[in-house]
Symmetry: C2
Subunit: 340 residues, 2 copies
Amino acid sequence: MRGVVMYKAGDVRVEEREDPKIVEPTDAIVKLTATCICGSDLWPYRGIEPAEHQVMGHEYVGVVEEVGSEVKNVRPGDFVVGSFVISDNTCEICQAGFQSKCVHAEFVSQTIGTQAEKARIPHADGTLVATPGQPDPELIPALLAASDVLGTGWFAAVAAEAGPGKTVAVVGDGAVGLMAVLAAKQLGAERVIAMSRHPERQKLARYYGATDIVEERGEEGIAKIRELTDGLGAHSVIEAVGTQESFMQAVGATRGGGHLGYVGVNHDVSIPGIELFFAGIHTLGGPAPVRRFLPDLIQLIWDRKIDPGKVFDLSLPLDQAAEGYKAMDERRATKVLLTL
Amino acid sequence: MRGVVMYKAGDVRVEEREDPKIVEPTDAIVKLTATCICGSDLWPYRGIEPAEHQVMGHEYVGVVEEVGSEVKNVRPGDFVVGSFVISDNTCEICQAGFQSKCVHAEFVSQTIGTQAEKARIPHADGTLVATPGQPDPELIPALLAASDVLGTGWFAAVAAEAGPGKTVAVVGDGAVGLMAVLAAKQLGAERVIAMSRHPERQKLARYYGATDIVEERGEEGIAKIRELTDGLGAHSVIEAVGTQESFMQAVGATRGGGHLGYVGVNHDVSIPGIELFFAGIHTLGGPAPVRRFLPDLIQLIWDRKIDPGKVFDLSLPLDQAAEGYKAMDERRATKVLLTL
């Protein structure tokens, strides 16, 4: 089969590699229908993280081709959406809703690599969720988004306790930030402030439910959020960038006793303990337990109640993955879908 | 009146200063019955924080002597317990239970200084809570503890979501850590692990409800907590030391999706964002909103259901405050009560 390999920073190739096979009785082989490039894939691409002849990709939808003898919840022929972290969905941590910290957790990106024609998914019963039927083709981008970017934005909004009566500020207007806007709106937030400087993304943020746009950043951004919230700060703040500046902007924008949800930080982020302490806020972050939300997200998409697929603004065949990386790196695209 | 002044690090004196007077109509003047020395008072004493001819003390109980024209909830003659942070208890932040981030928040330690015969307490209605009557003398230490150390330990346990079915680990066996053990037990925790190396404090921790003692620290301490929790980590971890090592020990001891409550960090603490991120945990910290808990804590003490007063292991007259600081600095005492 063909699949993406990152030879080194900036060098992405699509090449032949061996077809995956069932290894464990809990595995499934999925023939992928679509996959995509994540903002986090740019970290090795830009040399911020190491990359040495590495398989890539962790977002995926497709049709189950084969299952191991112990797999019960998905069958060959099922159309499935999977989380970007493998989970058994039965351990104590999974049952508490933190499937990305499952005792069997494994990152799809590091070993499996779904920018490919097929993928072996371990713990298929605990990782994959079948859709109610074969989806209409126009639903594919939305379902693919559920695999990570929507699930991650949704988790961020839940972690920030977005909900009725709340003012939610979203730091970052990338794909995850935009999905967090959608999630905050769906969760019933009264006011959703998107912190964005890009006219196109501001437009999409408004489409997804943003009621206000703040262009300022850093201390000025914090001041603006405070100005919009009677000096108190937002009840809920979502951090969807992952830099030192954006993290501290998010801390500063949260009111005392408020909630900060964060879904990615780069290796340089160092949080001054004393600042976090005197902020007096709740925080919850980590790789999103997408599996927790998949059944509900799939249903919302199936019922055409949400349209996260708009977050993909460029679609290319898998063979042109290198061009997809380039487009995202050069910010010509927010998020690139790869077709198979 | 007499009151403590810290001239500089290590130099504590009791000297005459002016009696406090009502300034705002929301003020009360309290004639103090007892006060005490806080672990955080050692920071300037040891030169870790600046101290220049500074009034000291933020924990207090006493009898209301005079109130301003707008004070309604406390009357002259009332015996009161006050929080170490001034709050109006009416603003949106207070109503949400975060009185230490009140829009009128002011630290008693920095401007008022309750290691003295009297204190002017601003926003008396929102800061002070009257006891059901004049307390028996043996209740004074317990009521004084409620002012900070018990209220702070209690907040830490609430922040860590200690409760039925939970395993709670407490990092730190100082006064706050011991009070957090008491709180975790009262909140119904199934198992309370005190991380302590001092035989005397281990004994007190067991008295207050610890079911297990772990002497190891750092990575070894984390490994021990994981060993005691089927490899998962504790549901709830309370950080009651405030150093880099203890903070990261607390992060590492918390299971994925678990809750870390922290109630003090020193200026050197710097949290690696990526470690906090991959831990996948909830955190809540800050100066404790003691006012939220005071009515309940006073009642528990009044009904003799808890006995936090045991945390004071040395009692001295105010005039011997310097000896009290010395005893705590040299670890001859866990916490020193000052009588008036």
